[in-house]
């Protein structure tokens, strides 16, 4: 592992088998995460981005592959194979914020109990008064009024609940937070509040985020680097600005052209995708994207492209990546 890398996902696979049918939810995904940066993962529903996030926190046991992680003590371990005792230790450093602020909080626990539950689980010896103090301080940090902590989740609005989820993830001072669609269920003005909060906390505490979302404009705003997933595979992984201004994979191009821009004077010609997402239980031959790609050649039908390094340092899985000139967003010079 490189020195500034905190996590390295290597050839991660996840297969689900049901009634004799195997679905490859995640196929051969590799990328690295530097300390203190935000990685965005985008893709359509069913592309495996949530499964990837859950494999990384080991909520699902991955079928194959490694997640190398550098602990706070500087040790390099494979998080997916460590024993239970060690895992519990590392879990303190990797936390998750869930998508739905309505179903991810227990309605029968007070907010104070919810926020301090990770402390109870991880530091059973801590005195109760200290737990309460920490929970209150954390609530204040994420912008919740500590006076309301004895209430139950139903008394809070969507944005406030998401803050409770953030406080719960932060209370044991993690280093990596996996945000699975953390702002998707919120209204735009509340979304902006939560995004600003996440950015402030990152600056203050040096957090690393893995930001999983289908909303490309949010991902573009918050991420340093972005990975695009299609049918369980990572098809492109690049610096945010490079990816959005000069996509190299045809799927990225099509995805970008479909983003509605909040400006009626901008007219972007959409690149139509043929057909629908194939069934992941029965993926097409060669490149998984070839049936829907408008740049498809004979080679794409038979031979699956590898995720290769491009001249500008990005990763892209397309046979024609270097010869195609694809269209992205224009960035203003200011």
């Amino acid at each position: 592992m490189k020195k500034d890398t905190i996590m390295e996902v290597e050839h991660l696979h996840k297969r689900f088998t049901s009634k004799g049918v195997t679905v490859k939810a995640v196929t051969d995904v590799s990328f690295d995460v530097k300390e203190g940066e935000t990685i965005g993962i985008v893709g359509e529903s069913g592309c495996g981005k949530t499964t990837l996030g859950r494999c990384i926190v080991r909520a699902y046991q991955a079928s194959e592959g490694k997640v190398m992680y550098r602990t706070a003590a500087g040790e390099e371990v494979d998080f997916l194979t460590v024993d239970k005792k060690k895992m519990k230790e590392i879990r303190k450093e990797i936390q998750m914020i869930f998508q739905d602020p309505y179903s991810s909080l227990d309605p029968r626990m007070t907010v104070l109990d919810i926020i301090k539950e990770p402390l109870k689980a991880n530091f059973p010896d801590m005195p109760k008064s200290e737990m309460d103090d920490r929970a209150k301080a954390m609530a204040e940090k994420v912008g919740l009024n500590p006076a309301y902590l004895m209430r139950y989740p139903h008394a809070f609005s969507g944005g406030q609940r998401q803050r409770i989820g953030i406080a719960r993830a932060l209370i044991i001072e993690p280093r990596i937070i996996v945000c699975d669609e953390a702002v998707s269920a919120l209204d735009v003005s509340i979304q902006a509040q939560v995004i600003n909060l996440l950015e402030d906390l990152q600056k203050e505490l040096g957090l690393t985020y893995l930001f999983i979302s289908h909303d490309l404009s949010v991902v573009e705003h918050i991420s340093d680097r972005v990975g695009v997933m299609y049918l369980g595979q990572m098809v492109e992984f690049a610096d945010t600005e490079a990816l959005f201004s000069h996509p190299m994979h045809p799927y990225t191009e099509a995805l970008l052209s479909g983003v509605p821009v909040a400006d009626p004077t901008v007219h972007i010609e959409r690149i139509p995708l043929k057909g629908e997402i194939p069934n992941p239980a029965n993926p097409p031959s060669g490149c998984y994207f070839h049936e829907r790609c408008s740049y498809c050649t004979e080679k794409c039908v038979h031979e699956a492209p590898e995720l290769k390094s491009m001249p500008d340092g990005r990763l892209c899985a397309c046979h024609r990546a270097e010869e195609l000139k694809l269209r992205g967003f224009t960035y203003s010079e200011e």
């Binding site: 359509e44 529903s45 609005s157 969507g158 944005g159 406030q160 209204d187 735009v188 003005s189 509340i190 979304q191 902006a192 509040q193 995004i195 600003n196 950015e199 289908h214 490309l216 404009s217 949010v218 573009e220 705003h221 945010t240 600005e241 959005f244 201004s245 099509a254 995805l255 052209s257 479909g258 983003v259 509605p260 821009v261 909040a262 400006d263 009626p264 004077t265 901008v266 959409r270 139509p272 995708l273 629908e276 997402i277 967003f329 224009t330 960035y331 203003s332 200011e334």
Partner: protein
């Protein structure tokens, strides 16, 4: 009402009686839609946009009481006040689906899982167009082809669970448009869909709008979708329209502090990376026992103490089609309204003292 206007909503109130008191989610909404145009109704969840459009079709819950007037300009029968009709009567049932139809937010929930897609689209045709089974099946299938469903013969006999989300939304559009309505109400039609499919569905709606010359009332909270679809935009907050105008005008020159806040909180791809998103402090208050003041007062950054918390601004026309409800805006019409409100407050105060 002039001939081009298809729907005129005036002073619409919706209230719900609850144990704790009276909830007023819609507090005096005014707008009109012209034939063939798209009006976007934008606002955050809970601002009353869904209740407004359900009031048009009288399909709100029994507990809701709607007052005001909703005039629908029917081509054959002239003007009808939809609120005066019996919500279970023949008249409104003839209008629902035939003249005004609706697309719902979640296609998965909008279809009954017990009947085939064809059966459900057919229901509309048989009710409004023809009783002949063969003919009505033909009409339904033709509509399914028009919305881009391939292999219609097979699809017609399939159940909703055999369709993907995007295909199901197409089927829902086919069901809404099969009787060729003159007004389509689309309540967040693409919110549950992926970006690529969303773009396809929006383009399809635009195309069909042109072919049938129908008006669309487009309800959404996604400002990107509004920019793509709508000719005019009305921004709603706490049960009232706070600003309305042409899409270009609203995006280029938002005046009301709430509209400005909304626009600022959306990140534009390609914009400056270091910029912090603008966020509106606080949350939307509960629409119960609201005092007589501007609904946005608590969260506003340009509020005028003594004025905004004592009077509720009304929607005034500033120029052309642009309407704003704010005392703090610098244009003539708003300033005039402000002066009148100030006078009224002074009068009320002196009257109060004398009493």
């Amino acid at each position: 009402m002039d001939k081009d206007t298809i729907l005129k909503v005036s002073d619409l109130h919706v209230d719900i009686k609850m144990l704790e008191g009276k909830l007023t989610p819609v507090r005096g909404v005014n707008f009109e839609i012209k034939r063939g145009e798209t009006l976007g109704l934008v606002g955050e969840s809970g601002c009353g946009k869904s209740l407004t459009c359900k009031a048009i079709l009288s399909i709100n819950d029994k507990k809701c009481r709607s007052t005001g007037s909703i005039i629908f300009n029917n081509e054959d029968e002239g003007e009808i006040d939809l609120l005066k009709l019996d919500p279970k009567g023949e008249k409104i049932r003839d209008i629902r689906g035939k003249h005004i139809s609706m697309i719902f937010q979640e296609p998965m929930v909008a279809f009954s899982p017990m009947y085939t897609i064809g059966n459900q689209i057919n229901e509309c045709t048989r009710l409004h167009i023809t009783k002949d089974r063969k003919k009505s099946k033909e009409i339904s299938m033709e509509m399914m082809r028009k919305v881009g469903i391939a292999n219609v013969e097979k699809r017609y006999n399939q159940y909703p669970h055999e369709f993907s989300g995007g295909m199901l939304q197409r089927a829902l559009i086919a069901m809404a448009l099969v009787c060729n309505p003159s007004l389509l109400i689309a309540d967040e039609p693409t919110t549950a869909l992926d970006v690529t499919i969303q773009a396809q569905i929006l383009e399809l709606m635009k195309e069909l709008q042109k072919t049938y010359n129908m008006a669309i009332l487009f309800i959404t909270h996604d400002l990107g979708v509004v920019a793509k679809m709508c000719d005019r935009v009305a921004v709603m907050y706490l049960g009232k329209i706070v600003e309305s105008g042409t899409a270009e005008e609203i995006y280029a020159n938002p005046q009301h502090p709430y509209t400005r806040g909304l626009m600022g909180s959306v990140h534009k791809i390609g914009g400056k990376k270091t910029e912090r998103l603008f966020s509106i402090d606080g949350t939307v208050p509960l629409a119960m026992n609201l005092p007589k003041r501007c609904g946005f007062y608590d969260r506003c950054d340009v509020r005028i103490e003594g004025l905004c918390n004592n009077a509720d601004p009304e929607l005034v026309t500033t120029d052309g089609q642009h309407q704003i409800a704010c005392f703090a805006c610098k244009n003539e019409a708003c300033q005039k309204m402000r002066k009148e409100a100030e006078k009224r407050i002074v009068l009320e105060k002196t009257a109060g003292k004398e009493a």
